[in-house]
Every structure is written in C-alpha cells, then in structure tokens.
C-alpha cells in the first residue's frame, strides 16, 4: 500500500501545447481511484507518468512519500495493464503471466503457485499452455490483467482494461478486480472512459477534460454536486438536462416555461442569464393538482422498470425524462411534466461553474476540515506509535 501524489504535474509532448496542465491529486493508500474523461483528455498520459514511462515537463510526483520524478519504472514497485495491451507472442499464457517474476526473487514453485491462483480468478486455467494468438481477444485481455495482478505490487495501474470485453463479462471481471484489489490492499489507479464503470467501482474518481482536472471526489458526491456543466453532462447514465434561462425579476424564463423563484433568488444574484440543469430522474409527470409544464413527446423508450422520454425544450435542446414504471405514450402527444425546486441546479453561463449556496459552501468547508483533521490525527497517531516504539 502506497500513496501516490501528483503536484502541479504538467506534460507537453511537443514543448508547445500542454497535454496535462497542472494536475494536483493525492491518491490514498489502498484506494480504488478512477480516472475518467473523454478520449484524448490525458488519462493514459497520467498513468504513463506515474509508471515512469514518460517524464513530466513540470511539477512533482511522489510515490510512497518519496519524490519519484526520476525513478526508473522498475524502482516504483508497480504493475500496469496497458491500453491496447500487447502480449509476448512467442510465450505461452503461463510464461506471459509469470514474465519478470524472477526479479522479485520468487522461486519457480512460488511463481507457478501465484500464476495458478491468478489464472483461477480470471478463468484462464484451461489456457495456460496456449500461445496468445490461439486464444480469443477477451482471454488475451484477461492475460494482460493477470500479468498485473500476479506481481502483487502495492500500486496497480490499469488503462481501460475491460474495453475488449462484452458487457456481461465486463461487469463480472470489474467486480473481481475490485475484490482482488481489496483483498491485496493495492492502491489501484484505474482509467476508463465509461462513466458507469467509474461510478460503480471507484472509491473516488477524478474527471478530466483536455488535460485539466474538473472534479475529484466520491462518485455519489460528484453525481449530486457536479462543479460545472461538463461534469454534470459527463457523469450519469444520461447527461444532466441543461438549458439557458433568462432572469426576469423573480422568475426564470425559458421560452414559454416560467419558473417562479423562491429561495433560489439569492443564489442567482445579479445575473441576467443562468443555465438550469435537471437530472432525468428528477423530472416526473405532473399530478392533477400540480402546475405542470406541457411538452411534446419526441421519443419513448420503455425499459421494463422505467421509461425514457425524449422531448424538445426550447428551440433546439433535447431533454430526457426518466419516469418510473412503464409508460405507453405516443410520439407527438403532449405530456405535463413537473420538477421540484430542490432538484434544480444552476450554472453560471460564462464560466459554466455551478452556482453554490452558502449552506453547501459551509458543508464543503466542514468536509475539507474534517478531511484535514483526519489526516492530522493519522499523522499524530503515526508519530505516537513511532515514539512508543522508540521508548520500548
């Protein structure tokens, strides 16, 4: 178990444009940390920097409390699953899995033992004697996983390790990886561009966009309190519905839809325009006594336990509502929807940042404080133990 810290890490391949611009994050020992973001945002680059396969252009990388900027990959005591993994084509599956284990001073018998254990977990036992080209892509991907797990390294880096597997297998292996990680207490840094995967396995996740950190936090916290419109639309099976509204006295106006503001008015302040956001599941059909808003249904997807309804909001924006149960609506018919005030999010139109209430700020501040307090306590306890050991 080791901590990985990135401080103001910058990276540029061509010395002109920054691929990473100042990444600041601390990954705690034993944590399952997920990096997520759209293609080309720099996820693989971060992993390669941590692994020592790329140099940083600026900033500091610390592994296990020690500066690691100039350590060789092998000195960092980690394992890695590459994106588009490549296996040694001339070695069997077993030889591929145990490749390099002799460096860790493991005897032949121990190597074999570990290889069998890992193969068992990943369902590769029957394929150990085969060459990579004689097994399916899915199995090859598992061999790549096995290679990383078998080393029992305290830090494990995985770059989209499940991208070649079918959905069902993905879910299964994902939970297996999670299990192994917890059992061995590895610090896992896991890259994916699938937000569902990110939400389900992560202790914490970091959302990146074009080389900049958007938000770091627990999955649910990020889901409930996205810091900006990018995070709001990236996280969630369906993106958050967004639309720009005009502030008119004490109400917000979106085309024909008028939202009377009550407590939100302080939040919005002196802004003339504001972005409204609503999660699809927070839109529901209006009851008889509620002042609903009529929309025209553009598409209906009935999915057993829920129904996804697409409709147009304003002139061009498509919104999605996720209604519980099965709704047999016809396309073109109108539906009266209702959104509770508490479910509305507001974003600044120019900065795209979410407008945060004072109460939330205070809560966040308390959270930060408690985090710092915990860190402080840990430090004190560590010192006390050390002092105790010295005394004895």
């Amino acid at each position: 178990m080791k901590r990985v810290e990135l401080k103001e890490v910058r990276k540029s391949y061509d010395r002109r444009t920054d691929v990473l611009s100042g990444i600041d994050v601390t990954i705690e020992p034993g944590e399952f940390f997920v990096l997520v973001g759209p293609s080309g945002c720099g996820k693989s680059t971060i992993l390669r920097i941590i692994a020592g396969l790329e140099n940083v252009t600026g900033g500091e990388l610390r592994i296990g409390g020690k500066r690691a900027n100039h350590l060789l990959p092998s000195q960092r005591d980690l394992s890695m699953v590459f994106q588009n993994y490549v296996l040694y084509p001339h070695l069997t599956v077993q030889e591929n899995i145990t490749f390099g284990l002799h460096v860790k001073r493991l005897s032949k018998a121990e190597q074999k033992q570990r290889c069998l254990e890992t193969a068992e977990i990943l369902g590769l036992t029957d394929y150990l004697k085969r060459k990579p080209k004689e097994i399916s892509r899915g199995h090859r991907q598992r061999v790549a996983l096995a290679r990383a797990i078998v080393t029992h390294a305290p830090i494990c880096l995985m770059d989209e390790p499940l991208s070649n597997l079918e959905a069902k297998l993905r879910t299964k292996i994902r939970s297996e990886i999670r299990g192994i990680q917890q059992k061995l207490g590895m610090t896992m840094i896991y890259v994916t561009n699938d937000q569902t995967e990110a939400m389900t396995v992560a202790d914490r996740l970091m959302i990146l966009n074009s080389g900049e950190v958007q938000q770091i936090g627990k999955p649910l916290h990020i889901y409930n309190y996205p810091v900006n419109t990018f995070v709001a639309s990236f996280i969630g099976a369906r993106p958050m519905n967004l639309i720009e509204a005009e502030v008119n006295g004490s109400s917000l106006i979106v085309d024909e839809w008028t939202v009377p503001m009550s407590d939100m008015i302080d939040l919005i302040g002196k802004r003339k325009r504001v972005m409204i956001g609503v999660r699809p599941e927070n839109i529901r059909a209006a009851r008889q006594d509620e002042p609903g808003f009529d929309v025209t249904v553009a598409n209906v997807e009935v999915q057993g336990t829920e129904t996804l309804i697409t409709f147009h909001m304003g002139s061009s924006d498509q919104w999605i509502a996720r209604l519980a149960g099965q709704w047999n609506l016809e396309v073109g018919k109108s539906l009266s929807i209702y959104i509770e005030d508490q479910h509305l999010c507001f974003f600044d139109t120019s900065s795209s940042q979410r407008i945060i209430s004072h109460a939330e700020k205070l809560a966040n501040f308390r959270g930060d404080l408690s985090g710092e307090y915990t860190a402080y306590r840990n430090k004190v306890e560590g010192l006390e133990q050390a002092v105790g050991r010295v005394n004895v």
């Binding site: 396969l53 590459f82 588009n84 001339h90 070695l91 490749f99 390099g100 460096v103 080209k133």
Partner: protein, 285 residues
Amino acid sequence: MYSLMKAGFLYLVPSFMLFTVFLFYKTVRTAYLSKYITDMQGTLATFVDIENFTYLFTSPAFLTSAKATVLFVLYTVPIGVILALCLALFANSKLRENRFFRKLFSSTIGMSVVASSVIWMFMYNPTIEVINYFLIAIGYSEIQWLLDPSTALIAVSIGSIWMNIGFCFFILLGGLQNIDSQLYESASIAGVSGAYKLRKIIIPMLLPTLFFVITVSFINAFQAFGQIEILTKDGPIESMTTFVDSIYKDTFINYNIGSESAILFFCIFIVTIAQFKFVARKLYY
C-alpha cells in the same frame, strides 16, 4: 466456377514458366552437366557418371578451395550478423533515436562491390598503408595484409563484413522497430535485466528477420567473388580461392564445365538441405 478456376490457372502460368526456365531447368541441367566431361569448346564429350564428383573430393585444389570457402563463411557470417545486430540495437535504443547513426551504419548499402574493394585495397595497400600506419603507431610491426597467406583471408573477410553490414543493419533495424514498444515498456516495469530482455524478447521476436539476414549473408559469402578477385588478384596462394572463384577459373580459363557443374550442384544441395532443416524447426510463432 470452372471458368474462374481456369482464369486462376492462367494467372499462374507466367510464374510457372519463369520458375521452369530459370530455376528448374537450371538445376536439372546442372545435375546433367555434372556427369559429363567437356572439351575445350565447352561441348559435352564423354559421359563419366559420378567421376566428376570423385575427382572433386580427391582433388587437393577443390579441398583447399572448400576449406577457404568454409573459413570465409565462418569469418564473415557470424561476425557480420552479430555486429550488425549490435549496431541495430544501439541505433534503436531510445537514447540514440536520431537519424545520424542510422544513416551512418547503413551507408555501405549503396556501394558497389568494386568501389568498396578499391577502398579496402587502399587501406591494405603496402605503399599507402592506412592500416599499417595505425599498427605502427600502436607499436606493432608492419603486416603485408594481402600478400601474406596467413592474413589474406582475414583481410578479405574484414572487407566483406564491412560491405555486408549496412544491409544486415538495415534489415535488422526494421525488424527491431516492428517489435511493439509496449513489450519493452512492460519489461522495464517488471525490471528485468537488459540481457534477459535480449534473450527472452528481442531475439525470439527477431528470429524470422535474423533467419533472413543469415541466409542472405550465407549466400553473399558463398558468392563472394568481386572482392576476392580485386583484393588478392588470385591470392597469394590457393588458400584464397573459394568455390565461386574456382568455378570461375575452371569454366572460363580451363573450360572445364563438368567439374564446375559438380561443384555448383554440390553447393546447391548443401544449402537446400540446410534450408529444409531450418524451416523444419519452428521459426515462426
């Protein structure tokens, strides 16, 4: 379906014809010629069955030229290929990733045998003495490289290695660059030593390329003629006469096509056996 197959065969005809004329006929004709003695005009005189072969294996001239050829191949092929591999590994390493070394090491490809032989002739030349100059500078006595029977073969081998190395380097570098860099990267994360990497990854993955380079080097060494002819002008003694050299002399100076064919047939036979042996081994993963 039938017409499609007919068309398919039609497409194969040119290649079959070329194959028949230039390979099949040649080999059969060589085998046929090897059983005859020829007169001074090169026409077939008498059928002698295997006498040409028995004559060959008892002829001291053939045996010395066989020895010279084998020595020449042994001096040039392994050293040449290993040197070329070292240069390719060096030029392919991340640190030296620049064009300079690649250009430098492969620069001999474009040179003709005659041109490079002339360069080496100057290097060894007793009156110009490029090499002897250095030898004397570091305190050795002068050597008559190309005249002394004990050094002539080595001198020619050094020149031949130099001529061949550019091509071997070029092909091996291509082979190295075909190995996915991820394999090196994951080996460097595992922390295995350079020698282990070479033994377990690079060499096995480079085997098809190495095989090709070795085969071509063998062929080149067996066919080495220009540089031997130019550098030694028949050589100090017969110790410098290799197969091709003796074939040349037998055919065009002594007009002895029969025994020449026997040598040629013998060579082709050996190389073919060697190739079958190699291909039978699992070279390709």
